[in-house]
């Protein structure tokens, strides 16, 4: 079934282009940073700052510690968002009564960005871990729930009918048909949620924290250590991309039929 394709010159050209564009970005960075006014540190300075970071950790927490602090917050918030959002999404997607009752409530809260919850969360949970995780929960719940709900309502009727004429119960229909056909929508939702969670955690950490990548950026900014700021930004980008890659991998593992078709 696999198509065999000859590698053409054009393929090589297209494969080289990304490398070129990254090199160009670095070149541009070098050019801008080597100016007199020093609006941005040079790549070399950022590199040196990174090395120093390993010798003298910030706030006695290693780089890995900071990364893990941020990732952990996102994962915990996301975990709760999945545990509640997926069943909730399945429920309003599948049961018409639940949909009529719960969907309007959800639609009311839905357009409020997670960051708007900061004052309330701080009031309720203080400035510790709980309020950060609650904030991430607010941000990640929406994509998980919306995607689950959309996935359920897009389950092909024909597949449901097949199960019904084989005498499947309502529960079997949800388990055997709705769940697998919704799975990839749910995973896509989790992927979006990770992106949102990553934004929210940084914002939360910038406001008050003594660990995490958001905290690292603010520390750099407070002491005018721009090299540290840039380095933290790079790490944020890399970790964000890795999280997304993990989900793509998971999607392939859990929904092999999707990859097969593409």
């Amino acid at each position: 079934m696999k198509k065999i394709r000859n590698i053409t010159r054009r393929d090589v050209f297209l494969a080289v282009l990304p490398v070129l564009s990254i090199l160009m970005a670095i070149g541009l960075w070098l050019l801008v940073s080597s100016g007199e006014d020093h609006i941005i540190p040079t790549p070399g300075e950022v590199y040196e700052r990174a090395v120093r970071l390993f010798e003298k950790p910030i706030n006695h927490v290693s780089l890995w510690g900071h990364i893990w602090a941020s990732v952990k917050r996102v994962l915990i918030g996301l975990f709760f968002a999945c545990v509640t959002g997926i069943p909730f999404g399945l429920l309003i997607g599948w049961n018409k009564t639940c949909r009529s009752v719960l969907k309007p409530l959800f639609d009311l809260i839905r357009p409020i960005p997670a960051l708007a919850w900061i004052p309330l969360m701080t009031l309720w949970f203080g400035i510790g871990e709980t309020s950060k995780i609650a904030l991430i929960y607010m941000g990640t719940l929406r994509p998980v729930l919306v995607n689950t709900y959309a996935g359920v309502s897009m389950t092909p009727q024909i597949n449901i009918d097949v199960a019904r004429v084989f005498g499947a119960s309502q529960f079997q229909v949800v388990k055997d048909i709705v769940m697998p056909s919704t799975l990839s929508a749910i995973l896509a939702g989790i992927k979006t949620a990770l992106g949102t969670g990553w934004i929210v955690v940084l914002a939360a950490e910038m406001i008050s924290a003594n660990t995490g990548l958001g905290f690292m950026i603010i520390r750099g900014s407070n002491v005018a250590d721009l090299a540290l700021v840039i380095f933290a930004m790079l790490i944020i980008g890399i970790v964000g991309a890795l999280l997304s890659a993990v989900l793509t991998f998971l999607e392939r593992k859990l929904c092999p039929w999707k990859t097969v078709i593409n």
Partner: protein, 247 residues
Amino acid sequence: MERKIKVKVEDLCKSFGDLKVLEDCNFHIYDGEFVCVVGPTGCGKTTFLNMLSNLLEPTSGRVLIDGEKASPQKHNLSFIFQEPSAFPWLTVEKNIAYGLRAKNKDEGYIKEQTDRIIDLMGLEKYRKAYPGELSTSAEQKIVIGRAFAMDPDLLLMDEPYGQMDVKTRFYLQDEVIRIWKEYQKTVVFITHNIEEAVYLAERVLILTNKPARVKEDVPIHLPHPRDINDPEFVRIRNYITEQIKWW
């Protein structure tokens, strides 16, 4: 000898809003009978099968299987839908086993039955493949296999061979006849293809245009396997074609 009635259709009517699709259908299908249903496009053939399998409620009248209201939980029936209906997330073998699993059959039996069907359908090579990787023809074989695997008492087929290439179509026509004879199933087979209907059926029901009623009930007494060049075969085929053209 009096034949037992498997399916009894009484004053069956179905409307979708203002659209009358079926009107006062009355007929029955005997146990172990092979019935083909032909009729103009969009006349309500699928709607009729959907009521036989209880996917749709009749507007009035009723459908009885073995004297009871039709129900997939109670009756061992299989339905082959007109549209492609393999589960994209299951491999070929799991698709075929699906109905048996849904009915909580014993795993040993499921395996044995699945192997037999895979062999029958010539799907051995694709056992672990997903339907999306296969051709339409092969995908339809999965669906047919999934229905046969149930050993259903009542097999409902809605233009099952419409999408298939000619060779597979001929093979599966003979196969459905073989299964029907061997296991004495009751088969209701919808088709657009009049030759196919005359090749397969013991009786052909001709439906009228919307709202559909049974226009005529044509028994075919030729023995299987039938010869499509036999003059009697040709005569019946032409006769049915005439009856449909009339509308």
